[in-house]
C-alpha cells in the first residue's frame, strides 16, 4: 500500500543507522528506540500451509517433513494443482501448463489427500549409518565423562574406595560402553556405462527448477506432484530487550495484531502534501509537507532542517509545533497562529501543513535530498514501564525525555 502513498520517497533513520521507510520501522517502547527489520530478531510463532492455511504444531510439522499433505504444486511450472473429478475419482490438473497426474501415469484416486511422492530409496542404509555414528559418539564421549567424573570423585576417592564402590561404578561404566560391531562400509562400485544411464530418458528437457523441486526422481522416471512446503509466520522481537514488538493474533489467517508497536504510532508521520515543482538552480522552490501525529499523546515538536553534505540547503529556521493526539476529542485551535502563518499552510485536528523554502545548488540537481531533524516530547504515555518504575526512573520514560527522528526526503 505504500505504493499509493509513495512512502518510498521519505526515509527515516533507524537506531542502527539504516535508512528505511516509516511503515517498515518499529518502536521499542521499553528502550525508546526505533527498530528496523535488520536490528530486530524475528521468530516463527506458527507453522502453516500457505495454500490451505491450516496450522500444524512443530512436532507434527516435522513428521510431515514440513510439507502440507493435501496441497500440491505442478512439477512442470510450480503452479497450483487443482483437483478435478471424473466419475468420483480425483485427478490433479494444472490450469497453467495443463500437466495432470495422468501424465505421471498415476491412476485417479478416491481420496485427494496424500498423493504419492518418491521415497528416499537409501533410507535403511542411511539409518544404519546414523545409528552407527550414534554408537561411535557414545564411545567417544564415554572416556570424557570418565575423566570429568574422576576429577570430582578423586577428592572423595579414599572414602568411596573403602567399601569397593568405585569398582562397581567402573563395572557399570564398562557395561554402558556397547561392544563395537563395525558397520560394513558402503563399498564403491563400477562406473555405470553411458547407455545404462540414459536409456528411456524422455527427450523433453528437464529444467534446473524442475530437478531441484524433486531431487530424488531420476531423469528416466516421471515427475510426481510436489507437496507445498509449509511456511512460518513471523513475530518480531526487539533484540536489546527481547520484548515482542509485533505479534499477530491467534489463528493464521488473521491480520489483526495482539501486540503491535509500529513506528507510525510513535513518530510524527511526515509526507509531502503536494509534488515539488521543477527545481531550478538558485531559485527558491517550495516544498509542502504534511505532519501528522498518529500517536496517543499530544506532541511538542521542533523541526530543524539540516544542511549536511549532499543535501539541499533549506533557509527556514527551526519550526515549533504542538500537535494534539489523534484520539483527543477537543478540537484544537483550528486557526493558524499569526506569527507562523508564512510557514504553516493549513492546520487540521492532528495534521499540520508546512511550506519550506529550498534553494537547490548545482550539485543537488542529480539527487535532491532534504534532510530534517525532528525532536519531540510526549506526555509519558509511550513507555510501558510499570507505574512504580516511572516514578523511580523519571528520566527513563518521563515527560521530559526528548525523542528525536532523523529523516531524508527525496525531492526528485
Amino acid at each position: 500500500m505504500s505504493a499509493l502513498l509513495q512512502y518510498g520517497k521519505i526515509k527515516y533513520e533507524c537506531s542502527c543507522g539504516k535508512w528505511r521507510t516509516l511503515p517498515d520501522l518499529f518502536f521499542c517502547r521499553h528502550c525508546f528506540k526505533i527498530k528496523c527489520d535488520d536490528c530486530s530478531c524475528r521468530e516463527i510463532d506458527a507453522i502453516f500451509c500457505p495454500r490451505c492455511l491450516d496450522t500444524s504444531s512443530p512436532p507434527e510439522a516435522r513428521l510431515k517433513k514440513h510439507k502440507c499433505t493435501s496441497c500440491n504444486d505442478c512439477p512442470n511450472c510450480a503452479n497450483v494443482l487443482s483437483a478435478r473429478v471424473e466419475n468420483e475419482k480425483y485427478y490433479l490438473h494444472c490450469h497453467h501448463c495443463r500437466w495432470s497426474t495422468r501424465d505421471a501415469k498415476q491412476e485417479d484416486r478416491e481420496s485427494n489427500k496424500s498423493w504419492p511422492t518418491k521415497e528416499n530409496p537409501v533410507t535403511n542404509h542411511l539409518n544404519e549409518v546414523t545409528a552407527y555414528m550414534k554408537r561411535m559418539e557414545v564411545i567417544e564421549n564415554a572416556p570424557k565423562d570418565l575423566k570429568k567424573g574422576k576429577g570430582k570423585a578423586w577428592s572423595a576417592i579414599h572414602l568411596k574406595d573403602k567399601f569397593g564402590v568405585q569398582q562397581m561404578v567402573e563395572k557399570r561404566r564398562k557395561a554402558m560402553v556397547p561392544e563395537m560391531n563395525p558397520l560394513k562400509a558402503h563399498d564403491p562400485t563400477e562406473a555405470p556405462t553411458l547407455e545404462e544411464e540414459i536409456e528411456n530418458r524422455s527427450n523433453v528437457l528437464r529444467s534446473l527448477d524442475q530437478i531441484i523441486m524433486q531431487p530424488l526422481t531420476n531423469s528416466n522416471e516421471l515427475l510426481l506432484p510436489v507437496k507445498v512446503p509449509l511456511q512460518g509466520r513471523v513475530m518480531v522481537r526487539c533484540d536489546e530487550c527481547e520484548r515482542t514488538l509485533v505479534k499477530r493474533d491467534f489463528g493464521v489467517a488473521t491480520y489483526k495484531f495482539k501486540i503491535s508497536s509500529f513506528a507510525r504510532e510513535f513518530i510524527p508521520d511526515i509526507r509531502m502534501s503536494r509534488p515539488v515543482g521543477e527545481l531550478k538552480i538558485g531559485e527558491t522552490a517550495h516544498v509542502f509537507l504534511s505532519v501528522t501525529n498518529l500517536s496517543s499523546s499530544p506532541l511538542e515538536l521542533t523541526i530543524t532542517p539540516q544542511s549536511g553534505e549532499g543535501t539541499i540547503k533549506c533557509s527556514n529556521e527551526p519550526i515549533q509545533l504542538n500537535l494534539p493526539s489523534s484520539k483527543s476529542i477537543d478540537s484544537a485551535a483550528g486557526g493558524v497562529h499569526a506569527e507562523q502563518s508564512d510557514v504553516i499552510v493549513f492546520r487540521q485536528h492532528n495534521r499540520v501543513g508546512l511550506r519550506l523554502d529550498v534553494v537547490p545548488t548545482e550539485s543537488d540537481l542529480t539527487s535532491p535530498v532534504l534532510d530534517l531533524l525532528l525532536n519531540y516530547k510526549q506526555d509519558g504515555s509511550f513507555s510501558i514501564l510499570a507505574a512504580s518504575e516511572k516514578v523511580l526512573k523519571p528520566e527513563e520514560s518521563g515527560v521530559d525525555r526528548i525523542l528525536s527522528a532523523h529523516l531524508r526526503i527525496n525531492l526528485s
Binding site: C41, S57, H66, V122, V129, P188, P192, L194, I211
Partner: protein, 482 residues
Amino acid sequence: MTSREVRVRCEALGPRRHTAVFAHDFNKFFFSFLYSLKIKRDKLSSNTQAVLESLKAARRSSSGVSTSSILSVSSTALSQAISSIDNGKSAVIVEVGSKLTKVGCAGELNPRLIIRTEYTDDNGKLVTADEILALNNRKTASKSIEYYEDLLHKFLKMIFLRVLAPTDRPVIVVESMFMSEDLRKAMTKVIVERIRCKSLMFMPSHVCATFPFNTQNALVVDIGYSECVAVPIIEGVTMLNEFESARSICGRQLERRVRELMEKYGQVEELGGERRALEEADWEDINNIRLIETLSVSLICLDRERSEKWKEWEAAEGEKPSIEVLCEENLVPVGGKSIVVPSVVFETSVEIFFDESLNPDSFDMSLPKILHRLVSKCSIDLRKKLFPNVLLAGGVSTIPGLMKRLEQEIQYIDEKNETKFAEVVKFYQFSEIKNSPLFVSWVGASLLGSLRETIERRSLTLDEWRTGKLAADWTDMIVKAR
C-alpha cells in the same frame, strides 16, 4: 552422572507411575538416562506427553529386544520416535553453494528445500549469487563489507524463516574449505549475532561427503558451479597439502561452452520450416527462458571412441560426415519460432573437462590429469588406495557417463606414464538416486548434525563470539602448529 542424580532426575520427570516403570531394570535405566538427558527438567508439556506416548508405543512394539540391540535402534518407528524426541530442537543444516542452496533439518536424509542462491529485494531487483557471496574474493568485491553483510543477512533470513525457527537451534554451515576468511567472518556475524541462532559450526564439505558412504578413505572430487576441488581423505584425515583445484572445470565454464557451441551450430526454425542462424532477438528469448542453463543440466558425456569421432566431425571442413548420435536434435519452441539444439551441443560440451585446448583463457589442466597429478603427489603407500575409492560430489557431476569417461581417461594416462595407480577405478555412488552428488555433502552434515553432544562441543555460541572467538576452523591447527 552418579546414580543418585539420575534417580532424582527420574522423579522430577513426571508422576510416580513413570519412575516405577523405568527404574527397576538396568538397560531401561540406561534408556531413561538417554531420554532424561534431552527433556528439560520443567513440567512435561503437552506435545512431549504425546511424544512420550509414541516412544512407549514404539518401545512396546520392540519389547522383545535384547540389551545390545536396544542401542542399534534399527526399526525406523523407534528411531523416528527417538529422533523426534531428542531433536525437539534439531540443528539446521545449510549449504550455501554458488548456484544452489540446500537447507534442511539434522537427522533427515534429504534436504528439505533446494533453492537458487538469489532473491528479489524489495524494489524488485534480482540479487544473484555473485553479489551475495562477493566477499569470497575481495578483489572483485567493490562495495563495503557492511553492504555485502546486509545482502547475506537478507538471504539467510529469507531461507531460515521460510522453513525453520532458527533462533533456538544450532546451525551447521557446510562450507567449501577454501571459503575466504571475510565471507566466513561475515557469515558467522550474521548467523550468530544478527539472526541470533543458538550456536554455529562450520563443516568442510569434503569430509561431509564421506559420511553417507561411511568410508574412511576416499578421493573426493567436488565439481561445483564456480570451481572444482579434489581432496584425498585417508583414514578420515583430509590430506590438505595434496589438494588440487581448477577453475576451468565447473558449471560456469560448461555454460560458456554450451553458449559457444550454440552460437556456432545453433539454428532457429521459422514457422515455414526453413532454418536460419541465431540473431540478437533469439538470444534475448533464450536468456528469458534460461535455455542455456537447462541445456547445461541435460548434457551427456561420451566415452573416448565417440569423442574421437566427434573431434573428426568438427575438424572436417565444409560438408560434415554423418555421425551416429546418441541424443537427437531437440526443438525448443519459444515465441512462435522453435530453437534447434543440435546434438553436437549435448554430446561435446563436456569435452572441456578432458581437453585443455578448448579452454583458451585458463592454465588449468584437464580433470583426469589433475587427479593423476594429485595421486602422484601422495605418499607411496596411499596411492593404491585412492583411485578405487573416487567420490564425485557437486551438481555438475550428475552428468550421465562422466564416471565411465573419467575411468577411461585415468587408465589412459596411467598407461602413458607407466604408473600403476589406476588398475582398479571405482566410484562411491548411490545408484538409485542419480542426483545424489547434488546433496551428498549436505546429507553427511545432516547425519553428523543428529549427534547432539559433538555439535555442542564444537560450535560457537553468541557469548563466545562476543569475546572475539571465531568458529572452529582447520586453519587453527596450522596456526597452533606454527
